[in-house]
């Protein structure tokens, strides 16, 4: 296998498709953390959506409706997380673990209850892969960017929108203010709680898309724990990307690339199980290399208690 094959078109197609679910979740994480809520629950939210997308698509015979069911279910669990984290000032990391554990149990329980022990039905509808006319026939760029699942296009659009929202709108300014200094935002007449709920709900929305991509975008089935740590990797990608949408996207693609070449390495005769460690190792390395060089929002992870204002 030559280097040309190694870094060929398939590697880049793989980079995008492996990176996309991480990038979607990481974009959402940016909103949550920019408003001051550390959202480790993305792992569980993805899993919830992955299951309910399949359930919805199968029951309603329509992948789009399945997507809707998946995203809404992830947002409902995000709301539950936000309620505990914001209203009751819970430790956000422990609460995130609660959601993750709950998601793991609930999806496993419902999988067995509804589909029995044989797994999800093979006739579950899948979200379409769309070739954009003309653009798709451009060599290299075509297959990499323009012959993809619809959710990949959604990712590109949402990336631009996220950047605009966070850095060029009034709402974005307020979100960032709440994550940096909630007392100051409160004093300026901004409803800190409402903004934080919004941040977490957006995160739920994005994690929902990411989960749907896993189950009815890339495949048309659900497996137990199919998120496989991607929520944590997305969290690392967001940190590595400096808490910005563009950075989070770039970092996610880096992890996508690590997963993609893992499959090429398999072709070189390196045992599959060792190669599959690569994205996890890459996450650790990225996190170790970047911490201290980027700065988290000042009030990230700190519950807001108005009575503690000085």
């Amino acid at each position: 296998m030559s280097l040309g094959d190694f870094l060929g078109v398939q590697t880049w197609v793989g980079t995008i498709s492996w990176g996309a679910p991480i990038a979607l979740a990481a974009l959402g994480g940016t909103f949550s953390e920019r408003t001051g809520v550390v959202n480790i629950a993305m792992e569980g939210l993805m899993l919830i959506s992955a299951f309910f997308s399949v359930l919805g698509a199968w029951a309603l015979h329509n992948a789009w409706l399945g997507l809707g069911v998946g995203v809404v279910s992830a947002m409902l669990f995000a709301l539950l997380f936000a309620w505990g984290a914001i209203r009751f000032k819970a430790d956000q990391i422990i609460l995130g673990m609660a959601i993750n554990t709950l998601a793991m149990g609930l999806t496993g329980y419902l999988l067995n209850t509804i589909f029995g022990y044989g797994g999800t039905p093979v006739n579950t509808p899948q979200l379409p892969t769309v070739s954009i006319p003309l653009l798709a026939s451009i060599p290299w760029l075509g297959p990499v960017l323009f012959r993809q699942n619809v959710l990949i296009y959604a990712l590109f659009i949402l990336l631009v929108l996220s950047h605009f929202l966070l850095f060029h709108t009034r709402l974005g300014l307020r979100m960032r203010a709440v994550g940096e200094h909630p007392q100051a935002a409160d004093a300026a007449g901004i409803n800190v709680y409402r903004i934080r709920y919004l941040g977490v709900l957006l995160s739920g929305f994005f994690s929902g898309l990411a989960g749907a991509y896993l189950s009815i975008g890339a495949l048309n089935s659900f497996n137990v724990n199919m998120s496989n740590g991607r929520g944590y990797i997305a969290l690392a990608a967001m940190i590595f990307g400096g808490w910005t949408p563009l950075g989070a996207f770039g970092a996610s693609m880096l992890f996508g690339f690590a997963s993609s070449i893992a499959f090429n390495l398999q072709g070189l005769g390196i045992p599959k199980d060792l190669v599959l460690m690569l994205p996890y190792v890459a996450t650790i390395v990225a996190l170790a290399g970047v911490v201290g060089r980027t700065t988290a929002p000042a009030a990230d992870g700190v519950p807001y208690d108005p009575s503690e204002s000085s």
Binding site: I93, I94, M97, A98, G105, N228, A288
Partner: protein
């Protein structure tokens, strides 16, 4: 205010969290078409109905006690080790290897050596990467310990699926460990081994370290307030590495005990997720070593009963995982319980 009543109040919230979560679990069963009463009855019978079941419950509690102690020790040092699962795995791997590859030792020595191998492997898995990175770069241990868990699982797949630890044949399983490394059974024809005493001993050790030694003082100081600890001249970085190492050692011993006492070999994906349940155990116990034993017993009972519930009432055993998630939720957001209590009290007053 402190003393007996204070203790009661401290225990009240975890107790209510468990009851509420079981209640919500019942609602989940109702909503998915099961009758919760026979299901919970089956759960109870499965856990405690016969001496055999009680022994099985205790056997399932042992790894939870050990991993739970590990998570609790880290928590007391301000560290959230969610990678006990991975440390459990590498502990199992190392112990299995010592168990079958090292021969000619008297039983006591062989067992001790195998346990030590598990402890050291778990300690290194916790301390080397997550510990050093946390101490010297600030990389958050929640992500690194979790990533190390995935690495550990892949490592075991590699070793067993055509790798160096696979026994001759096609099944992904290691060779049996030598009988000299077996932990004796406490109740014949059950899974309950002398590992129970190892777990109880571990609780004593954890308590002594935390409450009676200068190392524990350091760990707790760092856990409460790392800045103040540094100000007082405590080496925060070294304490962090030590704490994650100690935490990993407990989880590694859990893996070792599971191999030496129950499985006698390493299977591909043989764990029941003890390392994750350990988080619930430690949280429910508020990181107190004695309470950890009790919480582990509770979850041992739940997991033992769950299999029986699935068999006799047809309710998928994952219901117990749902209940666990809800318990963590209530422990993390314990203000919700206080809020619910207040509301129900107000309603009573309105009614009266």
């Amino acid at each position: 205010m402190r003393g007996a009543t204070g203790r009661w109040r401290a225990a009240l919230i975890p107790l209510l969290a468990v009851l509420l979560s079981l209640l919500i679990g019942a609602v989940v069963m109702l909503a998915s078409g099961y009758n919760p009463l026979p299901a919970y009855a089956a759960l109870f019978v499965g856990a405690f109905g016969t001496p055999f079941n009680i022994a099985t419950t205790l056997a399932h509690s042992v790894p939870l006690m050990l991993t739970g102690l590990g998570v609790a020790v880290a928590f007391r040092s301000g560290l959230f080790n969610i990678g006990a699962e991975g440390q459990f795995w590498v502990g199992s791997i190392a112990t299995t290897w010592v168990g079958y590859a090292v021969g000619g030792l008297p039983p006591a020595l062989h067992v001790a050596l195998a346990l030590l191998a598990g402890a050291v492997a778990g300690a290194l898995w916790g301390a080397l990467v997550p510990g050093l990175l946390k101490a010297y770069t600030g990389a958050h241990e929640v992500i690194t310990t979790m990533m190390m868990t995935y690495v550990a699982i892949q490592l075991s797949h590699f070793l067993l699926e055509g790798g160096p630890m696979q026994a001759p044949g096609y099944t992904p399983v290691s060779p049996d460990i030598r009988p000299s490394a077996f932990l004796p059974l406490l109740v014949p024809r059950t899974q309950l081994s002398a590992g129970l005493f190892i777990a109880l001993g571990a609780a004593v050790i954890a308590w002594l370290i935390l409450e009676r030694t200068t190392l524990g003082y350091r760990m707790r100081a760092v856990g409460f307030n790392a800045r103040a600890a540094a100000y007082a001249g405590i080496d925060v970085a070294a304490t962090t590495v030590l704490a994650l190492g100690l935490s990993g050692a407990f989880a590694g011993v859990a893996g070792a005990v599971e191999v030496l006492g129950v499985n006698h070999r390493l299977y591909d994906s043989f764990t029941a997720g003890y390392g994750f349940t350990a988080i619930v155990v430690a949280l429910l116990a508020k990181n107190d070593p004695w309470a950890t034993l009790g919480a582990a017993l509770l979850f041992g009972a739940l997991s033992t009963g769950a299999s029986y519930m699935q068999l006799s009432a047809g309710v998928p055993s994952q219901l117990v995982d749902v209940v666990q998630g809800i318990i963590i939720f209530f422990i993390a957001a314990d203000a919700i319980i206080a809020w619910l209590l207040r509301r129900s009290r107000n309603r009573k007053e309105v009614a009266a």
